[in-house]
């Protein structure tokens, strides 16, 4: 039965971080829609502007505000909220709700917590309570003890009786700070960290179940105590590797019916014991030797796993959870997939689902790649096939890591063996390689602790490689290879052909993919929801109304650093725009976390890899009228030229900017020429095919120069080098330079202002949606930079020139739709850095800040409308408020990455602070990004010589606010000479008096301003201090400009009470 509420609040999960990615945009958006269709008034809170859920029409009021308990309390009060949905925003939302419950705010304001209750949160999150609860219902958990000190941890190991033990901190995301200790030394180390990260300073020391199998159950319960299992999932990797880091298949494949019944019964007991009404995830360790199991973890909310389960089965867990939370029972909720049945059933699937994590090690060359109990992956792909081999190979080519198969590994036997035992992101490749070397399924399985069932499947793939290489191609062989998921390009490689020839041969043989439906019921009932995957079956289920036009939008694939949720946002908006025009919008994507792959977003959804082959197949099956390549980030842009070539002579058009014009923007030589023609300055540049060449170019241009390999995009391995020595180090350690792999060298404009411009162009008019000024000087990747919309230091004439340059470039490139420009301003001169002929990372941010839906309008332009027709024409959107974009970084989870800002992107997500007052907007952005900005205490300042003069105003302001200033020798002398009292601290290795690290550990430092010396390389001075700051969560400003806005923000926060404002209030 539906309960009455005046207004319901849905709390989002904030910025994308490792362990909390787009899955909560998906679940929060579903929840909002689910509640609104029941007629409730809703309020949404999330600091992340790149989400669909923060769109104005997702809720009656949308707040983009920092995700803290006191801010949320203010919104509750202002809006008159009387019910909160806590379970849709991951750990972030649960923690906020727990805090609001504990401090009495909920009682004071008369607010009901819906769905997951604080007691259930405590029972599942607090290790000791969890253990007690499970023991009370007779379900086994690993032997364990809760500890609040290292001494207690040592006693706990004595009680358990043996190493290794697991260290699990309470109340953290994605296992932050956890680990496996094999001896006392490691225990002390890991415990120290774990205690520091835990919100309640508590860790659990636990019996090791390493090497056991890991199974997961997604369970749902309603108020009438009806329970269903949505899906079960099996980790290919044994216990010891976080489930977010494991390759996972659904359903469980190696579990007998009897054991499934045991685990199912246990799951039902658990969800009842916790009295959860809604979705819940239960994780088991299962001993393959004797069938013993242990309950490992329960998530009393929607989760990454529930998003995966929703996509894997078609069962919308978040939507149903939201309805249960407001009082409906399962049988009262319709199953939208079939349209005829209810939500009270257990999905049956008739395919194999494979989830593979996407790790950021391509970006972070210095990070330890080993997988363990802490998450390092930023995203994941999901693939669906009718065989295990097909699912895993489709999953691999969805990863966007430059491989389309279990490629060969160039490694020694010893290295392979080590890889099998100590897994990294490369283990699946090592398994295949070991099998190729004839190690046999048994040995490989033993080393990798994989069930031989899975290893055998990889072996089948290896055997097929050999058959392709040795046998004559026949229709039978081709069919078998395609059944196993081999890409045409891979078949080409093994048969000495090329992709397009194989494609032709295959089609001539009549072997073309069929599209099967994901329908929650294995075909038992007719489904309404068009959610498809490809397989090489006999019949296809795709039926479409040919009288309607259809346009395919190519998605962005897995979330990785450089290509985040922002692209999914734009894809979804493009879908909406197409549907508004009465066109069938078709999505191809493979990211199970996102909104774009929710089956009720598009008219048809294809869960597929985003390679040329897979995309062409869908285009042909759909007989598409158009394809859109502008929204899926670099993934879709990179396909544009090849697609155009392959589609020549067919009716399918690539909409928007022509692929050749896209190439004009992407190709450095062609682009430079265009800039010359347009009379637009560019930093001087050159391409070096050897170190000698690079050296002479750099010397000619003049150091510092920006260097990067030519064959990777997105700022990977991009560095600023200041001398020939550094250039030498760069080519020796980071990037091999050769005839085939040249490096690109650009003049680095030091102390230049950098701008990002996002604009719309229809060929005649150019509308600039926003110009964002970076707070940090040029040289910090635009994905990491703090950005201000509108610009806060540009002069009128500089602004006018920026608009003029933008207009010239847009028209020069024949842009039809969106384009992003990166410009630098130095000495009032405008330089072109790069042009991206597509929707950019900042499109959702601008759209939120200005209220102009850029991605939608861009789609309208692609369909032939003009800017004038949509009411814009040429122009520039001015604002009477400031929106600040701040980035969040994975430094805490990824040991080995220096927390400084460089040309290489490191952030995983972003937040927005918005206010009429610039400083308040900055404050909100910085706090929302997780910086615990102090209002009093100590500041540690250590800046390089170039920055000393510039840091004076900030230091002075801090001193005047009463902060105690600590500084290293050079900096402190300089400050004192300028009348700012400062206490000198020493570096640890100086062995004198007070050192900075000790002060930090003692809690005397609440803010750090540290700008490292201008020098390239992985290890720079102050790295240890920065690492410690990351671990102690002391806010660190690593640029002078960043420090300035932070100090001004602190000042304004001290002086006035901060209010909250809904987004509609900004766009009246």
């Amino acid at each position: 039965m539906r309960k009455e509420f005046k207004k319901l609040m849905v709390i989002g999960s904030g910025p994308i971080v490792i362990g909390q990615a787009a899955e909560f945009d998906f679940s929060g958006s579903q929840a909002c829609k689910s509640l609104r269709e029941e007629g409730y008034k809703t309020v949404l809170v999330n600091s992340n502007p790149a989400t669909i859920q923060t769109d104005l029409d997702m809720a009656d009021a949308v707040y983009i505000e920092p995700m803290t308990a006191d801010i949320v309390a203010k919104i509750i009060e202002k809006e008159g909220v009387d019910g909160i949905m806590a379970g849709m925003g991951g750990q972030t939302a649960l923690n906020i709700c727990s805090e609001l419950a504990e401090n009495g705010t909920l009682d004071r304001l008369g607010v009901t917590l819906l769905g997951t209750q604080p007691e259930a949160i405590a029972k599942s999150e607090d290790r000791e309570l969890f253990k007690e609860t499970m023991e009370a219902i007779g379900e086994p958990v690993p032997l364990s003890r809760t500890c609040t000190s290292i001494e207690e941890a040592l006693e706990a190991v004595e009680y358990i009786g043996r190493y290794p033990v697991l260290v699990r901190p309470a109340y953290t995301l994605g296992g932050t700070g956890g680990g496996i200790a094999y001896n006392e030394e490691e225990l002390r180390d890991i415990c120290g960290r774990g205690l520091a990260y835990s919100r309640i300073h508590q860790v659990l020391i636990e019996e090791s179940v390493l090497g056991w199998k890991e199974y997961e159950y997604e369970v749902m319960r309603d108020h009438n105590d009806n329970c269903i299992i949505i899906c079960n999932m099996e980790n290919l990797d044994a216990m010891g590797i976080h489930t977010g880091e494991s390759i996972v298949c659904a359903p469980c494949l190696t579990l007998s019916a009897e054991d499934h019944q045991r685990l199912k019964t246990a799951s039902l007991k658990v969800i009842r014991a916790l009295e959860i009404e809604g979705g819940c995830n239960v994780q088991f360790a299962f001993n393959p030797e004797n069938g013993d199991y242990r309950l490992i973890e329960v998530n009393p909310r929607v989760s990454r796993s529930s998003a995966l389960a929703s996509k894997a089965t078609g069962y919308p867990i978040a939507r149903v959870s939201a309805k249960i939370a407001v009082g409906y029972n399962l049988d009262e909720i319709p199953n939208k997939v079939t349209g005829t049945t209810s939500a009270a059933f257990e999905p049956a699937i008739d395919y194999v689902v494979m989830k593979i994590p996407r790790w950021p090690f391509d970006k972070f060359r210095t990070v330890d790649r080993h997988l363990g109990t802490q998450m390092k992956s930023t995203g994941e792909t999901m693939a669906i096939g009718r065989s295990f081999e097909e699912a895993i190979l489709k999953g691999i080519r969805s990863l966007e890591i430059g491989v389309n198969h279990l490629d060969r590994m160039d490694a020694s036997d010893e290295e392979i063996e080590d890889e099998l035992i100590h897994a990294t992101d490369r283990r699946m490749f090592a398994i295949a390689e070991a099998l190729r070397r004839g190690w046999g399924v048994e040995k490989v399985s033993k080393l990798a602790q994989w069930d031989p069932f899975f290893t055998t499947k990889i072996d089948n793939i290896v055997k097929m490689e050999q058959r392709l290489a040795n046998e004559k191609m026949t229709p039978e062989l081709m069919k078998e290879a395609k059944d196993m998921g081999f890409a045409d390009a891979v078949i080409a490689k093994f048969t000495g052909s090329d992709e397009m020839s194989v494609r032709k041969t295959r089609k001539d043989m009549g072997i073309i993919p069929t599209y099967k439906m994901v329908d929650t019921c294995a075909g038992e009932y007719e489904a309404q929801t068009p959610y498809f995957y490809s397989t090489y079956g006999r019949t296809t289920e795709l039926k479409r109304d040919k009288s309607k036009k259809n346009v395919i939008i190519i998605g962005g694939g897995p979330i990785r650093i450089g290509q985040g949720i922002e692209f999914d946002y734009s894809c979804v908006h493009s879908v909406m725009a197409l549907q508004d025009e009465g066109i069938d919008a078709v999505i191809i994507n493979n990211n199970p976390e996102t909104v774009s792959t929710d089956f009720d977003i598009s008219d048809r959804l294809y869960f597929e890899p985003l390679t040329l082959e897979d995309v062409l197949n869908v285009i042909e099956a759909e007989d598409a009228d158009g394809v859109v390549c502008q929204y899926g980030g670099q993934t879709s842009v990179n396909l544009a030229l090849d697609l155009e070539k392959a589609l020549e002579g067919t009716k399918t058009k690539i909409l928007g900017t022509k692929p050749d014009d896209m190439d004009l923007a992407e190709d450095r030589r062609r682009f430079s020429k265009l800039m010359d023609d347009l009379n637009i300055e560019q930093p001087r540049s050159g391409t070096g095919y050897s170190f000698e060449e690079a050296k002479s170019i750099a010397e000619d241009i003049g150091y510092p120069v920006l260097v990067r390999p030519s064959y990777v995009l997105g700022g990977r391995a991009m560095e600023i080098v200041y001398s020939t020595d550094e250039l030498k180090t760069y080519v020796e350690t980071a990037v091999k330079v050769s005839r085939n792999h040249p490096i690109l060298i650009d003049k680095y404009l030091s102390q230049a202002i950098e701008l990002d411009v996002d604009l719309l162009c229809d060929g005649t008019d150019v509308f600039v949606g926003g110009i964002m000024e970076h707070v940090e000087y040029a040289g910090v990747h635009s994905g990491d930079a703090t950005m201000v919309l509108p610009p806060f230091t540009l002069t009128e004439s500089e602004l006018a020139e920026v608009l003029e340059v933008s207009r010239k470039v847009a028209l020069g490139l024949n842009i039809r739709g969106l384009m992003n420009l990166q410009l630098a301003v130095k000495n009032s001169k405008i330089y072109m850095i790069e042009a991206n002929p597509r929707s950019s990372r900042t499109v959702p941010f601008i759209s939120k800040a200005t209220g102009i839906p850029l991605a939608k309008i861009s789609t309208q332009i692609m369909l032939g409308k003009t800017l004038k027709e949509v009411g814009l024409g040429s122009g520039y959107k001015t604002l009477d408020h400031y929106a600040i974009k701040a980035s969040v970084f994975p430094f805490l989870k990824l040991v080995g990455v220096d927390s400084i800002l460089t040309p290489e992107m490191k952030s995983t997500g972003e937040v927005m602070g918005i206010d009429e007052n610039f400083d308040i907007a900055c404050y909100k952005a910085l706090v929302a990004a997780g910086n615990k900005l102090p209002t009093e205490g100590g500041v540690y300042i250590t800046v390089n010589d170039d920055d000393k003069e510039n840091i004076l105003p900030a230091a002075k302001s801090l001193y005047e606010m009463g902060f105690t200033i600590y500084a290293t020798k050079g900096t402190s002398t300089f400050l004192r000479n300028n009348d700012i009292p400062a206490t000198t601290v020493f570096k640890v290795n100086e062995n004198m008096g007070i050192d900075g690290l000790s002060l930090m550990r003692q809690g005397k430092i609440n803010l750090i301003i540290n700008t490292p010396s201008l020098k390239s390389g992985a290890v720079r001075d102050g790295a240890t201090m920065r690492r410690t700051a990351v671990e102690l969560e002391i806010p660190s400003m690593t640029t002078v400009q960043g420090a300035n806005i932070a100090v001004a923000a602190i000042k304004v926060a001290r002086d006035q009470k901060l209010g909250v404002r809904g987004m509609k209030e900004f766009h009246r």
């Binding site: 199998k213 009438n224 105590d225 009806n226 329970c227 269903i228 299992i229 359903p251 469980c252 494949l253 190696t254 579990l255 007998s256 019916a257 009897e258 499934h260 019944q261 199912k264 019964t265 039902l268 393959p288 029972n329 399962l330 049988d331 005829t340 049945t341 209810s342 009270a344 059933f345 257990e346 999905p347 049956a348 699937i349 008739d350 395919y351 194999v352 009718r386 065989s387 295990f388 399924v441 069930d451 031989p452 069932f453 055998t456 069929t514 099967k516 019921c521 294995a522 075909g523 038992e524 009932y525 007719e526 079956g537 006999r538 019949t539 289920e541």
Partner: protein, 357 residues
């Protein structure tokens, strides 16, 4: 790898790869949506005579182990899969499904687009079909299939029921008479956890059962059409006689037999319920149940029989269980048990028996 064919009465011919035992067979082609439990399914007497299509594309992944058998035989006529596993997970030390089928002389066909058959069956209703090895025979087989009667002529229960009565003493207080219409081991185990069993062939007379000194009677699961003349003449008649004299629980086919015995009617479902996720409503509760049947009770026909359909399938509204208004009779169409919250069927039956003691 030999080629064989799955042939359907509508003329559909699918080429596959043979596994199991090489033997041409025909039967009703039905699909099960269960994602695991393949061994349980093929050894369940309720599936006797059917060509079983697994909607899950992988088959035999964790092997075959004795403990999973639901009877001593493989009862299906043939097995249709996308892919069978020749190297199962060693976790249970199980055997290969291929060997198991060979041993029981049951044919299999793999490499089939099983979803295509499932959708056809869903849209057109259950079809007759055959597994054929000789390509030249296909046309003749299709003609034969077309001529085959819609309802199985054979009395399938007689094939799967025990031939002689036997007892199982479990040291319990209550003793139940079990009319074996195709008793599966799962139900036998649940009964044995609660009662002593006296198991009778399906055609045992009512008086014989009563004379054995039982506290109540279980009418078990089983295959085929409950309204088959030979069933009407035997079990249905027996249950009719017993209905006024003892407590009765009807499970699966037993559910339908009890309804027929009390004057109700049954009919064939379009494509049956086979799988582990059939949702059943009983009051405010919903149970996700395991089922395996092609026939169901007509709800309207229960008017005046004293039986009330108190359990209904949420999806197609078919009758999933009944209770008698006055007599100690309870029935359900599914396999009751803890993992589906439906152990209450046994508990209620126990109370009925205790009340009569």
């Amino acid at each position: 790898m030999a080629t064989n064919y799955l042939v359907l009465e509508d003329g559909t011919v699918l080429e596959g790869v043979a596994f199991g035992y090489e033997k041409a067979v025909s039967g009703e082609v039905v699909f099960t949506t269960a994602m695991g439990g393949y061994q349980e399914n093929i050894t369940d007497p309720s599936n006797c005579g059917q060509i079983l299509v697994s909607t899950y594309p992988l088959m035999g992944d964790y092997g075959i182990t004795d403990s999973a058998n639901q009877s001593d035989n493989v009862w299906i006529a043939g097995l249709v899969v996308k892919e069978y596993c020749d190297e199962p997970s060693p976790m249970y030390n199980g055997r290969k499904i291929d060997d198991f089928l060979k041993e029981h002389k049951i044919p299999g066909i793999s490499g089939i687009d099983t979803r295509e058959i499932t959708l056809k069956t869903r849209d057109n209703g259950t079809m007759k079909g055959a597994i054929v090895y000789d390509k030249a025979n296909i046309d003749a087989v299709i003609e034969d299939l077309k001529k085959m009667p819609e309802y199985p002529v054979e009395n399938l229960v007689s094939k799967v029921s025990c031939k002689t009565a036997y007892s199982v003493d479990n040291g319990k207080d209550l003793t139940v008479g079990v009319i074996d219409c195709g008793l599966m081991n799962g139900i036998k185990k649940s009964l044995s956890e609660r009662y002593n069993l006296k198991v009778f062939p399906y055609d045992t007379a009512a008086q014989t059962i009563l004379d054995a000194g039982v506290d109540g009677v279980v009418v078990t699961n089983g295959p085929g059409n409950p309204a088959h003349p030979e069933i009407m003449d035997t079990v249905v008649k027996t249950v009719k006689e017993l209905s006024s004299k003892t407590a009765i629980v009807g499970l699966g086919l037993g559910n339908q037999i009890v309804a027929l015995a009390l004057g109700g009617k049954t009919s064939k479902l379009k494509y049956g319920h086979r799988g582990t996720s059939q949702p059943v409503r009983c009051g405010t509760r919903i149970y996700i149940t395991t089922q395996n049947h092609g026939y169901a009770i007509d709800e309207a026909s229960l008017e005046g029989t004293g039986l009330v359909a108190d359990q209904i399938n949420i999806n197609d509204k078919s009758v999933e269980g009944t209770r008698h208004k006055d007599l100690p009779i309870i029935t359900c169409q599914y396999v009751p048990g803890e993992s589906s919250d439906t152990a209450f069927v046994y508990e209620d039956f126990t109370k009925m028996m205790e009340a009569r003691k």
